[in-house]
């Protein structure tokens, strides 16, 4: 039986790990390679790096981080943040990333998803969707949550599947950094709209939120940052908890 995945996400800036509350108030807290190794040794099903300030700053640091991590961690590594072009994707994959997540570029130029999934295979193309509730629908935000594209999240998700995305990483902008739980309504609506796996993100504060993301949100995988990063829970504890709630996990 296929297991639900737990994916710790490390926000990386200038080659160092940070985690912001709603993408601001950053705290520096460690070397991403060591952190990733701790997670993979602790049973993380995948590792995710998000280069949060990549759109504005020199990106070369992330290539070095990815290269060093891929020589030490032998679970899948996803890298996102500032991925704009086929060339960016090519460089990250060559450094040892297994998947890349594309956010702003997929909104501005959906062809990049079509072209990259054809060139590298859908298995390594994750489309990251940052969505915020507006009335009774959700809208897509870009540039790290700063710009409202006005696009409807559900329609956009379906379009990205058609364009060749292998997975969707869905973040609720309303919940990100709040620790009050995933927007399971958003997750389940997108999940039922598409036939590709959904990774839920944004808002995890405790282990029940992970359970809800899978049971109520219909997510194939749950992504979390701060609950693991600040040592509140280990990945192993999270897995044992999910297991106790009847969710299939790799233990």
């Amino acid at each position: 039986m296929l297991k639900n995945r737990i994916i710790p996400c490390l926000d990386v800036k200038n080659g160092r790990v940070v985690k912001g509350i709603n993408f601001v108030n950053l705290k520096d807290a460690g070397d991403p390679v060591e952190q990733a190794k701790i997670y993979s040794d602790g049973g993380a099903d995948e590792i995710c790096f998000l280069d949060i300030t990549a759109s504005n700053e020199n990106r070369d640091t992330i290539y070095d981080v990815v290269e060093r991590t891929s020589k030490k961690c032998f679970v899948p590594l996803t890298v996102g943040g500032g991925v704009r072009s086929i060339d960016d994707i090519n460089k990250l994959l060559n450094c040892g990333a297994d998947k890349v997540s594309i956010n702003t570029a997929a909104v501005e130029n959906p062809k990049v998803v079509v072209d990259s999934s054809k060139k590298f295979g859908s298995q390594c193309i994750v489309v990251a969707i940052d969505a915020k509730k507006n009335g009774n629908k959700w809208e897509i935000f870009t540039h790290g949550g700063r710009n409202n594209s006005g696009l409807d999240a559900l329609e956009y998700a379906k379009k990205m599947e058609d364009n060749g995305a292998g997975e969707l990483l869905v973040t609720s902008m309303d919940r990100d950094g709040t620790q009050i739980g995933y927007d399971v309504d958003l997750m389940s609506k997108i999940s039922s709209k598409v036939n590709i796996p959904l990774i839920a993100s944004g808002g995890v504060g405790n282990l029940d939120h992970l359970v809800d993301g899978i049971k109520l949100g219909n997510a194939s995988a749950v992504l979390a940052a701060s609950i693991f990063h600040y040592g509140k829970y280990s990945v192993q504890e999270a897995k044992e908890y999910l297991d106790s709630k009847g969710i299939p996990v790799r233990i």
């Binding site: 639900n4 032998f74 990333a97 298995q123 292998g166 194939s220």
Partner: protein, 208 residues
């Protein structure tokens, strides 16, 4: 010993390279090349594959003499070869991803899309799934039945001769996830991404 990872522009093979180098350390010489002479003079060959069946076959065919060199290595000389993911799928006679495409024909059979049972099963089949070992393969030394391996694929290999199947995994149906036919080995899952157990499988292959 010299082991060659075939670099034929089939997508991202850095994880395969990293994992083999990690296991090999100084004991085994890992080469990454499409050089025909180097391939045929190797002791073992690893055939990775990412993307579609068609794109991988096309990439193999683009390099003059590569298919013949691999066939000489695996079929005439019967030296150990490990296919990973689409690398395994290409052992088949024919694949149906994108369009009907002829495979290497080393293990008779075809490659079809996994039946998602009208959307009940998400595709690609991504993540950790347990393998059901049905034949003791040399690459499963010290690997327990029901071990977890990492999968990413939407197509499955259906061999005509079921005796070549060494493991299956349960997703929609019993999907063939490992084959062994004499000197030819293949895994649908990614040992290079399957943590310690995956490295163990790579070690087993290097020790054949």
């Amino acid at each position: 010993m010299k082991v060659t990872i075939v670099d034929y522009n089939s997508g991202n093979i850095s994880s395969v390279i990293n994992s083999f180098k990690e296991v090999a350390q100084d004991k085994v010489n890992i080469e990454v090349t499409a050089d025909l002479k180097k391939i045929t003079s190797s002791d073992k060959v690893v055939l990775p594959g990412q993307g579609s069946f068609k794109s991988c076959v096309d990439a193999l065919n683009k390099i003059n003499g590569l298919t013949e060199a691999l066939t000489e290595f695996a079929i005439s000389n019967k030296k150990p070869l490990l296919g990973i993911c689409v690398g395994l799928q290409m052992f088949a006679d024919i694949g149906y991803e994108e369009t009907e495409t002829k495979g290497l024909g080393w293990i008779s059979g075809k490659v079809l899309k996994i039946d998602n049972q009208n959307g009940k099963y998400k595709l690609p089949h991504i993540g950790w799934n347990q393998i059901n070992i049905i034949k003791q393969s040399k690459i499963f030394e010290n690997i327990e039945n029901n071990s977890h391996m990492y999968f990413v694929h939407s197509y499955e290999f259906i061999p005509n001769d079921k005796n070549v199947i060494s493991a299956t995994t349960d997703y929609s149906s019993n999907i063939v996830c490992s084959v062994e036919k004499e000197n030819i080995f293949g895994t649908q899952f990614h040992p290079e991404k399957s943590d310690k157990l995956g490295l163990n499988i790579i070690d087993n292959f290097l020790n054949i």
